[in-house]
Amino acid sequence: MSLDRAHALELLRSMMRIRRLEERAAELYQAEKIRGFLHLYIGQEAVAAGVIAALQPGDPVVATYREHGHALLRGISADAVMAEMFGKAGGCSGGRGGSMHLFCTGARLYGGNAIVGGGLPIAAGLALGDKMQGRADVTAVFFGEGSAAEGTFSESLNLAALWKLPVLFVCENNLYAMGTALSRSQSQTDVCVKARAQGVPAESVDGMDVVAVEEAARRVVARVRGGGGPSFLELHTYRFRAHSMFDPELYRPKAEVEAWRKRDPIVRFVARLRDEGLLDDETLRGIEEGAAAEIEAAVAFAEESPWEDPATLERHLYAEPVTP
């Protein structure tokens, strides 16, 4: 497939914004500015960038606890994302959600779900609600291959297929559920087989190739939006960093990590664009600097943002104040 230059550079910019955000988040975690659990997305950027490029602005997105990149590409400002990770008032949830719980009603981003598989039924429901109201939206739900062992996986795929709901199931198969390899935890290691068993058409794609991801996502989203019922995409990818900042990473060989690093989705895409004459040094530098400037501004915003007043703590429990 020949690449449209402007669009290709946009894909590259998307991945580099995520990469920069995550690298800074790791540093800020070491500096103890960000606490709690922090799950980084470094290595998996092509999945969010490729799939989200294939969605319309009004399409609901449901993500997991590794969702900073999805939030950023869905239009939550880096300021609001960073301030939320700092636990500051300027965060998208005023510090109540943190890294694992980013939401935005305006962008229809519904998670930030930190229970593995917990977002799958919600995605089916969003699709049901949109369908019942005559909207042509497609709900995209991101989840890891570890979710395929949860009951909600088969339950939600069954429901979506039974009711022909417009859901795109996006399995980010990075081979490890926390520290447990797929082969150590699931009898059927081909998640597409599991999806097809519920009547959902499924295909596997190289999740380190942003163009392949977007191409597959566009094709599948068109089918779903056209009333074809749910679809399932498995994207083979890898997280270069540990599961979370607490993870000593004893469960996988360094050689394996190194082998996957050679397939870095950003490095590969940059090389391809250079080969095809679509990217020069100056343009690349411009994209890098743009991403860096955006994230540095977000860090400054988060630093300067005040702490949420504990007097407001009980707000947002119910729509109206309720005395328990």
């Binding site: 109540r96 919600i122 969003l126 609600g129 009951g151 909600t152 939600s156 009711w163």
Partner: protein
């Protein structure tokens, strides 16, 4: 002249469902057996023929999926009513109820509201044994972000659903298995009632009997027996377990100076424990006797009729608890 008609609790719930479906196109009902079967407890009988498969949805046996789908549909702007057959089955959906429905508004800093109604049957009384008979509404009343309402009368069975649907937050409605077949007179024009706030079902001056849900008829019967012995018991129906109407509890206890809390849940960690603690915290010096509790025995509900009955707060146990307070003997 007020006109009433004879109606069962089951029919009152069905009327409320029908009215909700007629009034708002965003409302739909989904759950196990709600459609073709007519509802496991025959509550939704006839609604499929009337409203069609789009709005009366039979679901797979997938509690987590269809409760979660209810949350998603609510987020997308619908007003789903999800029926989970019994509270025991709701345990399979507890993740969605507790980790999503209850938490999303707060975790999102007020961005996401979940206007969802979940109905389920609760309590013993039909010889359904341990896995279909438990009273776990007190557990769910522990969770901030949920509202937990328990219609114990025909008026509430008819009127609480509309209020629950009008609420912008998730509301759990617990319907007592034992109450479904009970009949009484209900005003022809009975409609919505507030979801929150306790109600005095029988005024009295000597002791407050604080209860809710399926226990209410027994408590009223006990109050009747006590009246025959010269004890005027006030019966307070909590109606809503979260938020709990502390004000009404204290108003009653301050008047009567004695309280017995009757709860079909198990005693340890029960809602009765919470009510008792609130009385102690706020009205200790008003009391003439320690707060007493009559709860279900702490065993799984057994199958045999006489054993099941023996686990319950019976009229005899309620009357005995009041008599032990030293009133009614002159």
């Amino acid at each position: 002249m007020s006109t009433t008609r004879r109606i069962t609790y089951r029919e009152a719930v069905r009327e409320a469902l029908r009215e909700a479906l007629q009034r708002d196109p965003r409302v739909f009902l989904m759950g196990e057996d709600v459609g073709a079967y007519g509802g496991c407890f025959a509550v939704s009988k006839g609604l499929l023929a009337e409203f069609g498969e789009e709005r009366i949805r039979d679901t797979p046996l997938s509690e987590a999926a269809f409760v979660g789908a209810g949350i998603g549909a609510a987020l997308a702007g619908m007003r789903p009513i999800v029926e989970v057959m019994t509270v025991n089955f709701a345990l399979l959906a507890l993740d969605q109820i507790v980790n999503n429905a209850a938490l999303l508004r707060h975790m999102s800093g007020g961005q996401l509201g979940v206007p969802l109604v979940i109905r389920m049957a609760t309590g013993p009384g039909r010889q359904l044994a341990a896995q279909h008979s438990h009273s776990l509404e007190g557990w769910l009343a522990h969770i901030p972000g949920l509202k937990v309402a328990v219609p114990a009368t025909l008026e509430d069975a008819r009127g609480m659903l509309a209020a629950a649907l009008a609420d912008p937050d998730p509301v759990l409605l617990f319907e007592s298995i034992r109450l479904y077949p009970t009949a009484g007179d209900l005003a022809v024009d009975a409609g919505a009632v507030p979801l929150e706030g306790a109600a005095v079902r029988r005024p009295g001056r000597d002791v407050s009997l604080v209860t809710y849900g399926g226990a209410l008829p027994r408590v009223l019967e006990a109050a009747g027996q006590l009246a025959g012995r010269g004890v005027e018991a006030e019966v307070l129906d909590l109606r809503c377990l979260r938020p709990l109407d502390t004000h009404a509890i204290l108003a009653s206890v301050t008047k009567t100076r004695r309280a017995v809390v009757i709860d079909e849940g198990w005693r340890s960690g029960s809602l009765a424990a919470e009510v008792s603690a609130r009385i102690m915290e706020n009205a200790f010096y008003e009391l003439d006797a320690p707060v007493a509790r009559v709860c279900s025995l702490e065993v799984p509900v057994p199958y045999a009729r006489h054993l099941e009955e023996a686990t319950l707060p019976t009229v005899e146990r309620i009357v005995a608890a009041v008599e032990e307070m030293g009133i009614g003997h002159g």
